[in-house]
């Protein structure tokens, strides 16, 4: 399997911009308080790049991806601030997805032609009463202006591409007749059939067995080479991130605590939370006692005043208790939201 870190580094320029998220906040306004599921996060994704999003359950990974798709359940959810700039192929000035109406023609066409998404649980996005064929062919007809025969031919090609044997037969089957691995492949085929520039993969292999996970990850890498798309790869599994991604952002309680290239996340990490995560994972062949992060993730309705990680942080200082840290620049490609780096420059608050 090809490893992104081991191949030559790609060089990106301004022309490679695809997605720029700036100070995005998505909150859930509930009767008993506001859940700041995503709170003031910023990141970039470039053409052809795979960006990993990693963090523990409830830290805002899925809400980030739903925000980009403009599919946050509203009410109670709402994008309350910030921008999601998306650079369409055709022109140089981006659209701000955060400012589009959820069901506007423009947003629909972005969802159909530009951005596709695959989920952890394929059954939640496959329709159980429609055949696999129906679900792949209809969107192709809709978005690519093809007749039934052409769309069917493309559907068979897509199923072939994602490694599904006897594709013509599969077209007439229903999702429940397929194994978990096959369903995930069907979902990938559906997502790719519109030839998206951005694929959001939200825990695409978490529900799968390891041997099937390995097949799907390999498939995704091959397809990325072929389609030259960007991938936002969401997972809680750092080891999978290490295998799939060029850059990573680590999320904690709705915020991005560290952004860096994959090598730096593993070997030159700066945020105590990133370090804690890596030390918590058992490593094969190393029979040392694990050093867990103390405590557990706080409730999002009831966050500490200062740094959200402070109550669990082994390097906590006085300033951390009362003041939320800004994001400090470690190097051009590495940022950390931590007071330990208070002598560094701050990342600009607004672009």
């Amino acid at each position: 399997m090809k490893k992104p870190g081991s191949t030559e580094k790609k060089i990106y320029t301004r022309k490679d911009r695809l997605l720029e998220v700036r100070n995005l906040s998505t909150h859930f306004l509930l009767d008993d308080g506001t859940v700041k599921a995503v709170d003031n996060i910023s990141f970039d994704l470039r053409k052809g790049e795979t960006l990993g999003v990693v963090g523990e359950s409830g830290c805002g990974k899925s809400v980030t991806s739903l925000s980009i798709m403009n599919l946050v359940p509203d009410p109670p959810g709402k994008i309350v601030g910030g921008n999601i700039f998306y650079y369409l192929d055709k022109n140089n000035s981006p659209v701000d997805i955060a400012a589009l109406k959820r069901y506007s023609a423009e947003m629909r066409s972005i969802r159909g032609d530009e951005i596709a998404m695959i989920f952890q649980e394929p059954m939640s996005s496959l329709n159980p009463v429609l055949t696999v064929g129906n679900q792949i062919i209809e969107p192709i007809k809709l978005h690519q202006d093809k007749n039934n025969k052409q769309a069917r031919k493309q559907a068979v090609e897509m199923l072939n591409l994602v490694g599904i044997g006897s594709p013509t037969q599969r077209l007439s089957e229903y999702p429940h007749q397929l194994s978990g691995g096959l369903r995930q492949r069907v979902m990938i085929a559906m997502a790719l059939s519109c030839n998206p520039n951005l694929l959001i993969a939200d825990e695409p292999t978490t529900a799968l067995d390891v041997t099937i996970e390995a097949q799907i990850l390999e498939l995704m890498q091959e397809l990325q080479d072929e389609f030259k798309m960007s991938i936002l790869f969401i997972t809680h599994d750092l080891e999978v991130i290490g295998e799939m991604c060029e850059r990573v952002m680590v999320m904690y309680t709705g915020t991005v605590v560290e952004k860096a290239e994959i090598e730096d996340i593993f070997y030159n990490n700066k945020h105590p939370y990133t370090r804690g995560l890596l030390k918590s994972i058992p490593k094969i062949g190393e029979h040392r006692r694990l050093t867990p992060i103390e405590g557990s993730v706080p409730e999002l309705k009831n966050l500490p005043d200062g740094c959200n990680f402070e109550p669990r942080c082994p390097e906590s200082m006085d300033i951390c208790v009362n003041q939320e840290p800004p994001t400090f620049i470690i190097s051009k490609n590495q940022k950390a939201k931590c007071w330990l780096y208070r002598n560094n420059d701050r990342e600009e608050e607004l672009s």
């Binding site: 067995d209 390891v210 041997t211 390995a214 599994d237 295998e243 090598e263 490593k283 062949g285 993730v297």
Partner: protein, 343 residues
Amino acid sequence: MNENIKILKVTGLKKYFPIKKGVFRKTVGYTKAVDDVSFFARGEETLGLVGESGCGKSTTGRCIIRLLDPTAGKIELEKNGDYIDIARIEKNKLKNLRKDIQIVFQDPNSSLNSRMTVRDIVADPLKAHKIGTHQQRTEKVKDLLERVGLNSSQMDRYPHEFSGGQRQRVGVARALALNPRFIICDEPVSALDVSVQAQVLNLFEDLQDEFGFTYLFIAHDLSVIEHISDRIMVMYLGKIVEVAPSNEIYMNPQHPYTEALLGSIPDGDPHSTKVRKTFSGDVPDPSDPPPGCNLHPRCPYSSDYCRKVEPELKELPDHKDHYVNCHSAEELNLEGYQKSQQV
């Protein structure tokens, strides 16, 4: 307890679930969830059980504690030098078994009664066995909660007021209440975040050091199982395909399925240039397993012989304690887990 005593001996264990169809619920076939499995556990060891979803791990665990009645086979538990066959204990005498064997489940949310306080949850087994006075039970509950790293002042709260990791600790405290010797851990950390998973794994290790428990530790995460286990059993489609000490099985696997599992581990090292050796295809339906060796449709090394004749689990002649269920054991040059080569 002597570490060399076999505290549990399982022989020829089978569990078939009938598949019923039609208005008359006629049995049309069987899911062979566990199909002729034999193994043993030594005192004070952690015996890992790993394999993909649906291979029969939980069913094996549930038969041992008799949450399920086995279809066939013996499950012998050592007691004061003698063995009693758990498979043959009558239903109304099962209660006593709980003093020896306990189970901790994967999902702390659904395995704890949400309408009971933590105090009542942990005291429940003591009450059921009429152990101690109310006051003594309260003392014991406090003690157990502190043991598993919870604050006993929180014992009058309900499960939903605790985090996932804390709820799992409550489940562990309940399992410890009757001082069992053998604990079945059915994916006890799979639902937990990694930072909390590490806390709970450490807890299991500490409790074993303190009380000398024997664990049957079920997991599907290959890093977790390697970390916690002394010996590991690999299961595939209702059968045990390989058993060996943990280091041995990772470095010197002798079954093609074990090799494929190890090859599937993402190594999480961006510097690594490891080329993965993975398996193609899906796990077959356990109601209709392939003939011969049930791995043959997916096995890259399979021969005509494998398609016809079923192999047996046998100890390797020159590797003590290493059991393999493959016709070609020791003939194939299989690859173990490779630590990534750093640049």
